[in-house]
């Protein structure tokens, strides 16, 4: 007896993902770029941990500004993190589902309000940092 659910056909040719699959479409390529930007971000955060540890040992050992290459690295990482924030917040429009006065809130409103909240949060944090550092 044969049900197609019961036995698989013999000698099917299995799917093998080619190693260069991510070069085969522009979308895949940018997806991989997006995923890989997380690596320098992680490195930068490790460095930050080291800096915090040093700061704990007293002001003498603390030298946060480092070298010019590192400043450049930090700027690149900042751009990457902005890119991540941007893709994440843009996504919110399609994930979140709100109703206001019985009407669904449009995706663009959700996305814009996310960015607004982001800007406000950044402003508040910036203000406190400056205020504390004074």
């Amino acid at each position: 007896m044969s049900t197609s659910e019961a036995n698989a056909t013999p000698r099917e040719y299995p799917w093998r993902m080619p190693a260069n699959w991510w070069t085969r479409s522009r979308h895949y390529f940018w997806y991989i770029v997006r995923e890989f930007t997380a690596v320098p971000l992680a490195l930068w955060l490790l460095w930050l941990l080291v800096e915090i540890k040093r700061a704990g040992d007293g002001p003498a050992r603390y030298s946060p500004h480092g070298s010019a290459p590192f400043v450049i690295f930090s700027v690149v990482v900042l751009l990457f993190s902005l890119y991540h924030s941007f893709t994440f917040l843009s996504l919110a429009g399609s994930i979140l589902h709100f109703k206001l006065l019985d009407r669904p809130v449009s995706a663009s409103v959700i996305v814009m309000s996310q960015f607004a909240a982001w800007a406000v949060a950044s402003g508040v944090i910036g203000f406190f940092l400056v205020w504390l550092g004074r």
């Binding site: 007896m1 044969s2 049900t3 197609s4 659910e5 056909t9 013999p10 000698r11």
Partner: protein, 570 residues
């Protein structure tokens, strides 16, 4: 030999087959149901139905009027007891589909919405936008997954019914993936294999609609009923034959000739675009013949115009039509008229079955388009067929489950021999034969052209006689068919050959039945016999398989209950 045995075996995974499988399990949760289909069930041609399913859903409607509309639409060839039972069951089936999750379009109060449809005197067609068949099929298929009693055999092609002592005890099926023949035995077998549209060149039907179940039953000795009754839908897209739903006219679309005139005023003045399909198709052909059609690269056509409905209505109620126009014609139906012409669409005729789907062979049932239970007569009304699949699919499933609970089990011994014979037949006739020189596709294309020419909207004795002769010639050439594909794995060429074998069989039944019906009734319009002849032909044609191509024809009286035949004007 090892074989699977079921209480109920359903052949065909479309709306009728799936509904039958579920009904069998719900009637008796202990039955084992097998579902064999040559495609994955959600590929079945139900998926292409667009307009909706008819049922009495409103207080202002009545069973009486739905029955009368159906009987008048059938040109009095429907069995009236069957119609009366059908109209009572249909609303329950619509509700059942709703409970299973069908996304029926709704009225503002949240109730299931209805739309007008051709030949119906009031609004009674329930719809899921203009993808009703798609949504119904996926709903019932997905629902069927919750029943552990149902085992599917996907992509298995039934080549023969197993008949033992005049009782059907299952089928022989070719597992398409492995090329292996299996006996799938069962106490009862339900045929729900759909239509035969592919015997015509210009058809709305998908590639899989090859009349398999009709041919299987025919060869097993069951009569094919009213095979001359082939429905031509007025609005198919030229070239592809893609269906433009009648709901386009239901929602208010106009059918216009090359003078921009709503020409139906000369044919169905009281119904206009909502006339029945047979009459509108004839009207269009008549207009073409009198020079009032548009000329295009793929033949003559008319305009179906919905521009006046506005974008909002079109997007709400006919979104798929807009999609089809954009994808396949390159027009936006909001701004452009749709080119349409009559196209083969549906088979009223089919396996002779009664109100509960029983055929004259014990243990064999039929439902849906492949069956003729006596509902549609000479012309089916649009939106009755989806309801028919539900009502009569469920009836056949219940009847089969009931009979299976008392039927004696199937024994392996004769089945093994029958399986071996059938496997041997297909092997020698197709796979191992090296001598042939005829291409399957060439014979198929010639058959399709012959059917278009000889058994189209209008028929004549000359045309049908020629068709009968030529089908005979094609049958002879088919004996010399060549199979290039020697593989056992997913050999679609063998399938095409087996399907063509079936199609030649059922198209002969169509041609001979049509030649013998010397009157015009419903979709069967004879130029040489333009009038309906109730004295001689208020009867069902029954075609029985013989050793030659010509079937033995018998006639059976139509059941009349409350509606005396009258002149059919709209």
């Amino acid at each position: 030999m090892d074989f699977e045995s079921y209480d109920v075996l359903v052949v065909g995974g479309g709306l009728a087959g799936l509904r039958a499988a579920i009904a069998a399990v719900e009637a008796n949760p202990r039955v084992k149901v097998g579902l064999v289909s040559k495609v994955y069930p959600m590929r079945s041609h139900t998926v292409s139905a667009e307009g909706g399913a008819a049922a009495v859903m409103r207080p202002e409607d009545s069973y009486q009027t739905h029955a009368f509309d159906t009987i008048k639409g059938s040109d009095y060839l429907a069995d009236q007891d069957v119609v009366e039972a059908f109209v009572r069951e249909a609303p329950l089936e619509i509700i059942q589909m709703e409970h299973w999750g069908c996304p029926w379009s709704r009225d503002p109060d949240g109730k299931i919405s209805v739309r007008p449809f051709g030949g119906m005197t009031t609004w009674r067609t329930c719809f899921a936008a203009d993808k009703s068949g798609f949504h119904m099929l996926h709903t019932v298929f997905q629902t069927s997954l919750k029943y552990p009693q149902i085992t599917r055999h996907d992509e298995a092609f039934v080549t023969k019914l197993l008949i033992e002592d005049s009782r059907c005890v299952g089928v022989v099926a070719l597992d398409i993936r492995t090329g292996r023949f299996d006996a799938i035995t069962a106490k009862t077998t339900i045929l729900a294999t759909g239509g035969l549209g592919r015997v015509y060149a210009f058809s709305t039907n998908g590639n899989i609609c090859t009349g398999d179940g009709m041919a299987l039953a025919y060869r097993a000795g069951v009569g094919l009923k009213d095979m001359e009754m082939v429905q031509f839908h007025p609005t198919g897209l030229p070239f592809t034959g893609i269906l433009i739903t009648e709901a386009v006219r239901g929602e208010g679309g106009y059918l216009l000739n090359n003078g921009g005139e709503r020409f139906l005023k000369r044919y169905v003045p009281n119904k206009m675009e909502l006339g029945p399909r047979d009459i509108i198709s004839r009207a269009m052909i008549t207009e073409f013949e009198e020079g009032r059609g548009f000329e295009g690269p793929h033949g003559k056509y008319m305009h179906l115009d919905v521009r006046h409905l506005g974008e909002a209505v079109i997007d709400r109620k006919l979104p798929f039509m807009r999609e089809l126009g954009r994808e396949f014609v390159g027009i936006d139906i909001v701004k452009d008229p749709i080119p349409v012409r009559p196209v083969q669409h549906y088979m009223m005729g089919g396996v002779d079955a009664d109100i509960s789907g029983e055929t004259p062979i014990l243990g064999l049932y039929a439902a849906g388009e492949c069956a003729n239970v006596g509902l549609n007569g000479g012309n089916r009304l649009g939106s009755n067929s989806l309801s028919e699949c539900l009502v009569f699919g469920a009836a056949a499933g219940r009847a089969a489950a009931h009979y299976a609970s008392s039927a004696k089990p199937v024994t392996a011994n004769p089945v093994d021999a029958m399986l071996w014979d059938e496997a041997h037949r297909v092997e020698t006739e197709y796979l191992e034969k090296k001598s042939g020189n005829e291409r399957i596709a060439v014979i198929r294309e010639e058959m399709q052209k012959e059917m278009d020419d000889g058994a189209g909207v209008f028929r004549t004795r000359e045309g049908l006689s020629k068709l009968v002769r030529n089908l005979g010639g094609l049958r002879e050439r088919f004996e010399k068919v060549k199979i290039e594909d020697s593989s056992r794995t997913f050999n679609t060429e063998i399938l095409a050959a087996l399907e063509l074998d079936f199609m030649l069989e059922v198209s002969s039944a169509v041609a001979f039945s049509a030649l013998a019906r010397e009157e015009s009734r419903g979709a069967h319009a004879r130029r040489d016999f333009p009038e309906r002849d109730d004295a001689k032909f208020l009867k069902h044609t029954l075609a029985f398989h013989t050793k030659t191509l010509a079937p033995r024809l018998e006639y059976r009286d139509v059941t009349i209950t409350n509606f005396k035949p009258q002149a059919r004007t709209y």
